[in-house]
Symmetry: C2
Subunit: 339 residues, 2 copies
């Protein structure tokens, strides 16, 4: 699998590419399957349909890896929080965690209720071509905790930051609880057949640098240590979105995801001797083929001779054209060809 | 004025401090005046009441500068866009700029309709103590154009980015139109009596680095050049929020505002030989006196021996305690005292 080889820093024939949110609303095929499922959560809980949307971009775009179709919030949902997706608002937890006594509400065996995810994984791995990798994933504890405390998406994250600064012990307790669940969940995904794991810390840049290292990154490191001790051959991709002070990021992972707002040459200079870098085309460039080409040329030039997996620097935007995404994939695979 | 001295890199007795959104919802006095005005826009349009809220934090917190109470969106509003503030949503333009022919709707003499701002400035400058500076401000063209195209706040800025990547000539035309208005508006503020000007580019980090330099920063530079040619003695503070590649930021300004997400030591190394730095305490630290102290110590240590104006790295959060803001101001003025 070219994707796994690139994760493990082996030389590859070309730079492998996949796209964050490659199975998503920009694809008419995805919209059709989702309509069949009823709604987003029902789609996550339906292994057969989740398998279907996971495989769609493999056929349509020709990417080198599939990523499990699911949502990072299934973990807190199965820990006991009432999750719904509200139109024009996004995910909402009706019963957020606001104080220490709320921790008693959280259940510590969420992984046993996430069987629909493992069922989807087995199904996908069976149907996916042997040369394509299947990436499993989980939300990082900091991002999950942000949702669990805020109860919904936030522009300023005031509630959770207030707790971080006023009640750090409470936050660490919650973060550790969630970390334990994430570790068990990732283990079960690996047992079910994923070839690699990505840890998404979407709200990493909501905290100032040193505070994130303490409340966010340290828990990702813990997850990496535990997973690598048990499954040393499974590559881990860490994606602490948009962080600065990159030289401070080390740990037991293989690939570091770079957000589009991070200058790729800075990430390369700070990290590429130790880790494969993944990223980081600005998703909005996919509006225009000309801008795609410009961006691909610049990124391949920056990463020349370094271990690299091509991706966007953030997820696909719903109103992008599938045709342009396909153009991107083919261009990267062609332009990066060695020899 | 200690604030102006710091802008102009003269030695000062202590590090001057003001706070972005120091006149805002966290102050009961502000809420009372705003209730008297009726709503937010009416407050902006009422010179007497705008003067009142501008002066409140001077008395309550003891900051070293007042900042004109107004909103960056008064410029596009007076250019002909229908502005309203919708609860739990923020500013909304009912008639956004979606295509080139919409440019015909924009009026080029907005500065003549902004007299309520100049009236407020004269009133404030008359009542403000002579040792305190009055800062005027404007939104940077990129941020104003983002609002004008999106029609409202956005998480992903898809509409405006689509135009940037698909129709760059249209965007440059709109940006130049807005830049011309901002320049005339800033000139009128200076004529009315402000002692310094801050240019806020709140959505600077919505664009990838090189694209921001072209569509955002270049217009700020143009404003600085024009204003400095006419008013060389008026300090200009540029605040391109959260940008990276700091070594690329030069121009005819005096002070560079640093967002809390930017490591201050990086900003210092890249910029402090040429510019005074302003910032960058994480606003959420104001929840806790202990975290304020920790943050102030670290920032003063980082900026030791350099030209510095203390501020938050973003605006005040509505649920912060005025008492803690006052503690911050006194602490900075005391701890930074040269002796």
């Amino acid at each position: 699998m070219i994707f796994i080889d690139a994760c493990l820093k082996k030389e590859t024939e070309y730079t492998p590419i996949w796209i964050m949110r490659q199975a998503g609303r920009y694809l008419p095929e995805y919209m059709a399957t989702r309509a069949e499922a009823g709604d987003f959560i029902s789609l996550c809980k339906n292994p057969k349909l989740a398998c279907e949307v996971t495989l769609q971009p493999i056929d349509i775009l020709g990417v080198d890896a599939a990523i499990l179709f699911s949502d990072i919030l299934v973990v807190p949902m199965e820990m006991g929080l009432d999750l719904s997706f509200v139109k024009n608002k996004g995910p909402v937890f009706a019963n957020p965690i606001l104080k220490e006594s709320d921790l008693d509400r959280l259940e510590g065996d969420s992984q046993d209720r996430l069987t629909y995810v493992y069922d989807a994984i087995s199904m996908i791995r069976e149907q996916l071509s042997k040369d394509k990798a299947l990436i499993g994933f989980a939300g990082a504890p900091w991002t999950l905790v942000t949702y669990m405390v805020e109860g919904e998406g936030s522009k300023t994250y005031n509630r959770v930051k207030r707790e971080v600064y006023e009640n750090p012990a409470f936050m660490h307790k919650l973060l550790q609880l969630v970390t334990d669940e994430v570790i068990k969940y990732v283990e079960r995904q690996i047992e079910a057949g994923v070839d690699a794991i990505q840890i998404f810390d979407s709200w990493a840049n909501a905290l100032e640098s040193d505070v994130y290292l303490e409340f966010g990154w340290s828990y990702i490191k813990q997850i990496c240590d535990k997973i690598k001790a048990k499954y040393p051959h499974i590559p881990i991709i860490a994606f602490p979105k948009g962080v600065s002070n990159l030289e401070k990021y080390d740990g037991n992972f293989d690939v570091f995801g770079v957000h589009w707002s991070t200058p790729l040459d800075e990430a390369r200079d700070a990290l590429s001797d130790r880790y494969t870098l993944q990223g980081n085309l600005e998703p909005a460039r996919i509006y225009s083929k000309e801008r795609i080409k410009e961006g691909v040329e610049s990124i391949l030039e920056t990463m020349k001779g370094k271990n690299h997996i091509f991706n966007l620097g953030h997820g696909m935007i719903p109103d992008l054209k599938p045709e342009n995404a396909k153009y991107l994939v083919e261009l990267v695979q062609k332009m990066s060809k060695r020899g």
